[in-house]
């Protein structure tokens, strides 16, 4: 089966998967597959025989003999792929053949001072091409296959060893997974703060594929939390005022449970409580203790640090915690609950009012904040994890970036803490955001705010794309 393979760079496009082309020293025959003087490792019977090598997962396993049977997969990721393919090039003179060789070397080595060349692979009959970044390549002609026939026709065969991105992607843009979705800054009602991703293409839909988020808030905002979640549960149980003068603290069990059913099966899920408070006094601190059920006497699964809420109506993020205790039980349902701890920092009466609780079973969670400038509204907040630029492969960035998008330009870089959202099959996007309070860094949470969000994802492919 013939395969269309080309490399594209600043110097133009070269088709490598030709059949009978020959370079006469003029023109640019390499820009078309039917005329290109380049051919892949050729077999007279089978024709072109190269296919991209799939990236090998770099895994970290733990445990094992002699202490236990088997090992546990801890983490998995992929490094660049280095592969060698044979390329032959035909010309009507020695100098023209060497020109082909030189051009190949130039095109494949642009990363350092320009941008990576693109490897484009599209088998005959395939709907779509797949695009890889080529970071560096060595091209070595083979002396045994440097043939100069008496007719003057020259054939050079060379071994091309390139290092490229582990996965292929689409070109220019990803696929839309949330199209101008409406979010409310609350866990109840419509819209609320969760929108499901559409089903995505690509081969890493269970490992995580990068996402780009464009968020426009209805009013001023300066900090937001974004998470890829399995579920969000909302409750107003316990919404009352808590008062204490104790510097050691008081505790009240909140009489409701939250489902951790999904976590009994999905080992990547973690739990997180975000609790909205109003009217916090300046000397109050709060924390939570997560327990397995509504009873307050069972072993705690997690105790958060003492947190000083901003002196405004705000949502306190109590941090993520593992849900491993609900796994490996052969039981598919699990509930958790929490107790609210509250203390005075100075021995004077301190109080705070609980408004509502949101419990997340999540895959990834991040907090993104503006620094140094006032909150803005009507401006797009962008969180970018992959390339979306004209004629460039939609490859993941080394790490996500967040910034304000103004006048079509990136402005005001934002600080990302945690892991940016990724696409996981069957998951949703959770969003919660803060306004500023005057000129301070207080995080005001207003439930009536709305936002419009567009999310694109980059499907990733080990080798071929087909119609994906």
């Amino acid at each position: 089966m013939a395969i269309e393979i080309s490399v594209d760079g600043v110097l133009g496009t070269i088709y490598l998967s030709g059949t009978a082309g020959e370079y006469t020293g003029s023109g640019t025959p390499w820009t078309s597959q039917s005329t290109t003087p380049y051919e892949l490792s050729n077999n007279d019977v089978t024709g072109n025989i190269w296919t991209p090598q799939a990236a090998i997962a770099q895994t970290v396993y733990g445990g094992g003999p002699p202490f236990r049977m088997g090992q546990t997969l801890i983490s998995k990721n992929w490094a660049n792929v280095t592969e060698t393919l044979g390329v032959q090039m035909r010309a009507t003179s020695h100098n023209s053949a060497v020109e082909l060789l030189r051009q190949l070397r130039q095109l494949l080595n642009q990363s350092i001072y320009s941008r990576p060349a693109q490897l484009i692979v599209k088998p005959n009959g395939a709907t779509s091409a797949v695009y890889f970044d080529i970071y560096q390549a060595d091209v070595q002609e083979l002396a045994t296959h440097f043939y100069e026939g008496t007719s003057g026709h020259v054939l050079i065969r060379a071994a091309v060893t390139w290092t490229r991105s582990p996965f292929g992607s689409r070109l220019t843009s990803g696929e839309t997974l949330i199209n101008a979705g409406s979010f409310g800054n609350t866990g109840t009602g419509s819209p609320d703060n969760v929108v499901a991703y559409s089903a995505a293409a690509g081969e890493l839909i269970y490992d995580g594929q990068p996402l780009n988020l464009d968020i426009t808030f209805s009013s001023s905002a300066w900090q937001y939390c974004a998470a890829t979640i399995q579920s969000m549960e909302y409750s107003t149980t316990g919404n009352t005022t808590y008062t204490t003068s104790s510097t050691t603290g008081a505790t009240t069990a909140i009489a409701t449970t939250f489902s951790a059913d999904a976590a009994t099966d999905i080992i990547a899920l973690r739990g997180r409580f975000l609790i909205r408070f109003t009217s916090p006094s300046s000397n109050i601190q709060v924390r939570i203790t997560v327990i397995a059920e509504a009873s307050g006497t069972l072993t705690s699964l997690y105790t958060s640090p003492w947190i000083t809420p901003d002196a405004v109506s705000t949502v306190v993020d109590f941090g993520g915690f593992p849900l491993d205790s609900v796994r490996n039980t052969n039981i598919t349902s699990a509930n958790i609950a929490f107790s609210l701890g509250y203390r005075s920092t100075n021995g004077a009466s301190a109080s705070i009012t609980l408004h509502n609780t949101q419990f997340l079973q999540y895959y990834t969670f991040c907090n993104v904040a503006l620094t140094g400038i006032s909150a803005v509204s009507g401006t797009t907040f962008r969180l970018a994890s992959f390339v979306e630029r004209s004629l460039l492969p939609a490859q993941p960035f080394p790490y996500p970036t967040a910034f304000l998008l103004g006048s079509g330009r990136a402005q005001n870089p934002m600080l990302i803490r945690g892991r940016a959202p990724v696409y996981i099959y069957g998951s949703s996007l959770y969003l919660m955001w803060y306004d500023r309070s005057g000129g301070t860094d207080d995080r005001v949470h207003t439930t009536t705010r709305t936002a419009t969000v567009t999310v694109t994802g980059s499907p990733l492919y080990h080798t071929l794309r087909g119609a994906g």
């Binding site: 396993y61 445990g63 983490s75 705690s300 997690y302 993520g320 620094t371 080394p398 790490y399 892991r419």
Partner: protein
């Protein structure tokens, strides 16, 4: 996995909110230590770079702050850049704040042995850049004029960061440019300033710690002002401080007394906040971490997996498979468990590991938990 956010120096060395870079995309190996009498203690990371990149760091990197975030947006480690080492071809360049001093005092003795001192001399440019860092020098058989000359000379030498001992020049085969950054926890800066107090009044030890931190912040505003994380000790000590004592020395002298019943654990942690409380070894039956020998990670008491970079000292660790026979309920350490005084987390391309060390007073071996590729 981890994001290493580097922030610029503000005026006086105070960390600013201006992000310089995130090293997450280039770090090849990472190690941090956290201890029960320091808090965030040390962190090193290394990565390949270009010659220009190395020069950028060597020229202006010292004093930058780092906050290491985990994938849950939690703070894993926090500190400031103390030493930069660049390997460029066969040569090594190293600059460090460790031996720098930009406020110098000289104590001298006359030929008759009479002790005296002269006023401090400062380099305000260095102080504006890094904060104030004291040094006391001595000179024998001299007078105030000679002491002044000596002070000026030494200030000129010490006011700027100095090359570290690993700086070398050599011929031979060139290699990649490799940069190694060594960070210290903010607690280390408590050694930067010297203080004294002639008061013989006895005051609560923890109240004195709060007072000392406030006095320190008045000069180098490195720490959070909150003191409500310093649990009252309930015991008193004299306020007297010998001259030329560092803030760290006095704070440790106070906190080492514990609360009169149990030792204290203390340190500077998230948000550059000072914490101090009775050590976890006081309640050894309250297990914080547990592990089965066949597993590559530490779990909390409820069985939840704790990532290696989130394992903290001042905790009680138990190896579940080891069954203590009639352990003493109040014993900090036993065959199956020990009090963790320091943790070291190391991450590279081959492994993720955490080492839990007991108190130095014991001879129990540290527990190394490593996950290999």
């Amino acid at each position: 996995m981890l994001a290493l956010h580097i922030f610029g120096r503000g005026v006086g060395g105070i960390p600013s909110s201006s992000t310089v870079t995130n090293l997450a995309d280039r770090v090849m190996d990472y190690t941090h230590t956290i201890s029960n009498a320091f808090g965030f203690e040390s962190m090193t990371c290394s990565f390949p770079t270009t010659l220009d990149g190395a020069m950028d760091w060597l020229g202006d990197g010292l004093g930058r702050s780092v906050v290491v975030y985990g994938p849950d947006a939690e703070i894993v480690w926090e500190g400031f850049l103390e030493t930069i080492t660049a390997t460029i071809g066969g040569e090594t360049r190293s600059v460090s704040l460790r031996d720098m001093a930009n406020r110098v005092r000289v104590r001298y003795t006359s030929v008759l042995g009479t002790a005296a001192t002269i006023a401090t001399a400062s380099d305000t440019i260095s102080q504006a850049k890094y904060g104030i860092k004291d040094a006391v020098l001595t000179l024998n058989e001299s007078d105030s004029t000679e002491a002044g000359h000596y002070q000026t000379t030494m200030l000129a030498k010490l006011k700027n960061p100095l090359s570290g001992p690993s700086a070398t020049a050599a011929t031979g085969e060139a290699g990649a440019v490799q940069l190694s950054l060594s960070f210290a926890g903010w607690y280390a800066t408590l050694d930067w300033l010297l203080t004294s107090n002639t008061s013989t009044t006895k005051t609560s030890t923890t109240t004195q710690v709060g007072t000392l931190l406030a006095a320190y912040n008045a000069v180098n505003a490195f720490f959070a002002s909150a003191t409500n994380n310093i649990t009252s000790s309930g015991i008193t000590a004299v306020e007297y401080i010998e001259q030329d004592t560092s803030y760290r020395q006095k704070i440790e002298a106070l906190l080492k007394r514990g609360n009169g019943t149990n030792p204290y654990a203390w340190g500077v942690y998230e948000g550059r906040t000072f914490f101090a409380k009775a050590y976890a070894g006081a309640t050894p039956t309250s297990i914080d971490y547990q592990r089965r020998i066949g597993e590559p990670f530490v779990r909390d008491a409820a069985g939840g997996i704790i990532n290696a970079w989130n394992v903290r000292p001042d905790t009680n660790y138990r190896a579940v498979d080891l069954l203590d026979v009639a352990p003493i309920s109040t014993a900090q350490d036993s065959a199956a468990q020990f009090y963790v005084a320091r943790t070291t987390c190391s991450i590279n391309s081959d492994s993720v590991s955490v080492t839990l060390e007991p108190d130095e007073s014991t001879d129990l071996s540290a527990v190394l938990i490593t996950k290999y590729v």
